[in-house]
Subunit: 390 residues, 2 copies
């Protein structure tokens, strides 16, 4: 089975070309692996070497370019004709010969009659290094370059029915993995054992399908470390009195549905229970506020008004648009739920809302992935919104 119908890829290309026209671009060089997947269907762990998908107005299909040994992977996963799959030889990889993969890409842009045109590049995308840009410029002195970092990401913000279906499948996986993780946490249990249990559930998936690898590993900051959200598991054993935040995501065909919950080893102190109640009231107010026509900052405001009513002052980003992703991130880097972001919510956008409150370095985080429907917001996972304990 193909992951999407060809017509869906064609619509994506059409929208991309419309934006290229607005920006007066002759060619678009897409290097973000998520955007490469979105336009061409390409899916492989090969983003550790330079690769790209190139869109030009003259061609109906984009062109995939990557390492020679990955061309078969492009044939297997993209919807592209053989003539649109190009690859460089292995002496371009970590080359001692002053060869760089972007030298080949520059030659290809020339062949596509775009070498002296206006070329869009994703200046701030993962894996588009400073060197990649420098080599493209050196090899194409007649070209002019435009920064098109989020051009495709803004198209991705609207999800199709098939994309939503994969995100719902990812939500089923996330529910299973969260339950398994909460069940595994306990006094004396090493962090890695909980991480193993979660990973296992993430890949085992459901009775009907397996799970893909998530773009971010499961995070489970605990104890003093709930204030260090991005440290990964260690050999440390959970102790009585540890708060533990579990943040994970199910993944299906690279589409994510992240979920976070907080648990406590032992009997949670009243302060933590109270904090959790504020977080729950806040996230529910923000979910209630989310609907087409409302801005991202208004959603954050609904959260903030709740916590302010309890005397808590903080202005944070509490969420972001997301969906398709590769390591190191599942976020789309476009709209954020935070003060100053006046992006208007529209039907079929999807966000991960992850607010939290830390007091005396001990925090509670509870998150939901939601889909903006015609009339409101629907969470993808169904999982109890409460402070758990072991």
């Amino acid at each position: 089975m193909d992951v999407f119908e060809q017509s869906e890829y064609e619509r994506r290309i059409e929208r991309t070309k419309e934006r290229m026209l607005e920006r007066e671009l002759d060619a678009l060089v897409i290097t973000d692996p998520s955007n490469m997947n979105y336009l061409a269907g390409y899916d492989g762990w090969s983003f550790y070497v330079p690769q790209a998908v190139i869109v030009t107005h003259e061609r109906d299909e984009p062109v995939w370019v990557g390492r020679g040994m990955d061309a078969n992977g492009a044939r297997a996963t993209t919807w592209l004709a053989e003539e649109n799959i190009h690859s460089y030889s292995d002496d371009h990889v970590h080359s001692p010969y002053d060869l760089h993969p972007m030298d080949y890409v520059a030659g290809l842009l020339d062949d596509l009659d775009a070498g002296d045109g206006t070329i869009g590049v994703e200046m701030d995308a993962y894996y588009f290094t400073a060197k990649s840009y420098q080599r493209l410029r050196e090899k194409l002195p007649e070209a002019s370059f435009e920064d098109t970092t989020l051009l495709v990401n803004w198209i991705r913000i609207y999800k199709s029915e098939q994309e939503l279906e994969y995100m719902r499948q990812a939500a089923r996986i996330a529910e299973n993995a969260m339950q398994a993780g909460l069940d595994a946490v306990g006094e004396g249990v090493p962090e890695y054992e909980v991480a193993e249990t979660i990973y296992s559930a993430l890949i085992d998936g459901t009775d009907d399908y397996g799970g893909d690898y998530p773009s971010i590993v499961p995070l489970l900051p605990s104890g003093d470390h709930t204030g260090t959200p991005h440290l990964t598991w260690t050999d440390r054993r959970f102790e009585d009195g540890d708060p533990v935040i579990i943040e994970l995501s199910g993944c299906r065909h690279r589409y994510h549905s992240p979920l976070a919950r907080t648990t406590f080893v032992g009997d949670p102190p009243e302060k933590l229970t109270n904090t959790a109640e504020v977080v729950i009231e806040g996230i529910e107010a923000a979910l209630d506020a989310a609907e087409p026509g409302v801005t991202c900052e208004e959603v954050e405001q609904a959260w903030r008004e709740v916590i302010q009513s309890y005397g808590i002052e903080k202005e944070d980003r509490i969420g972001y648009s997301m969906g398709l992703g590769y390591p190191p991130d599942w976020g789309e880097h476009t709209a954020s739920l935070r003060p100053g972001d006046d992006t208007v919510l529209e039907e079929d956008m999807t966000f991960h809302m992850i607010p939290g409150i830390w007091q005396d370095d001990v925090g509670v985080e509870i998150s939901e992935t939601f889909h903006v429907t015609a009339t409101g917001a629907e969470t993808l996972a169904e999982f109890p919104r409460e402070l758990f304990s072991t």
Copy 2:
């Protein structure tokens, strides 16, 4: 327990400063997460936002700079004094305000009296985007920039006793995971189930310690897909007659020990058995050739002479230096075992040697991670070198 003694970090900084002197650099801006870990000890899944470790001659310690919410993670994992931990506010992240994290880094370089000096940047390192470089240049018009992409990587090529110890621990994990993976492959078993079994073993580790997440997910190309080495697992079920290549790595404190083996669902055809024998003879010849004083290309040549004696012509990179790593790669991008690489092997270098032979699109890959000792090469894992079958 700290991952390394402070004296080990100090030696790393000393060697880095020596190379900075040779290159006449006033400051070095390290953005590769592996190099940040190597110099400062920093370990967190935060490389999806810009961050850096800065080395200057005047300071004994490097300076860590990252996102505000990750400063606690830097306090928890680095050996640095509080004054050397700096962080930017969250409005720099995917900013709608035309703020970029590198604006803050530029200001910090100014504060460190390096804003008008010669600054080394890792032009081709993961996560150092074209935009990051552009912003640094714009904000520091008086500075001159030098490309120092592999400066720290070439220091990392020599492993200390403690680093080797972590790689040996990773090898124990790799052995367990490989055995579990080989046992799990079978007719009708879905690929994701084998991936789950392997991941589980990688994180469960051994009786004495858990495993860290590997920088590359386990890969298990099978059937026709043994020719697409970087596709990840799917819902597909293994069929009788499938060759399956398993490539994985144990990981301990971010140090890797990769291992690859090939198995077959059912009775392997004679052609595959014969191919496996050539691969085994070839890798053993190359391991025998590896010792201090020999060049990388001579090691590859030992492999090539064996396969040529069976009438197989191919000139490939069959290995690379490796150790410490973060997604998307565990390779160090310095020395490669391939024609044209005249790097001389020295004691305490470590390589992953991963040769393979494909015939009619069906391949055999068998790999070993080895340590260059005073007199030869020692594989880190002890795992039978043969073609497996279910």
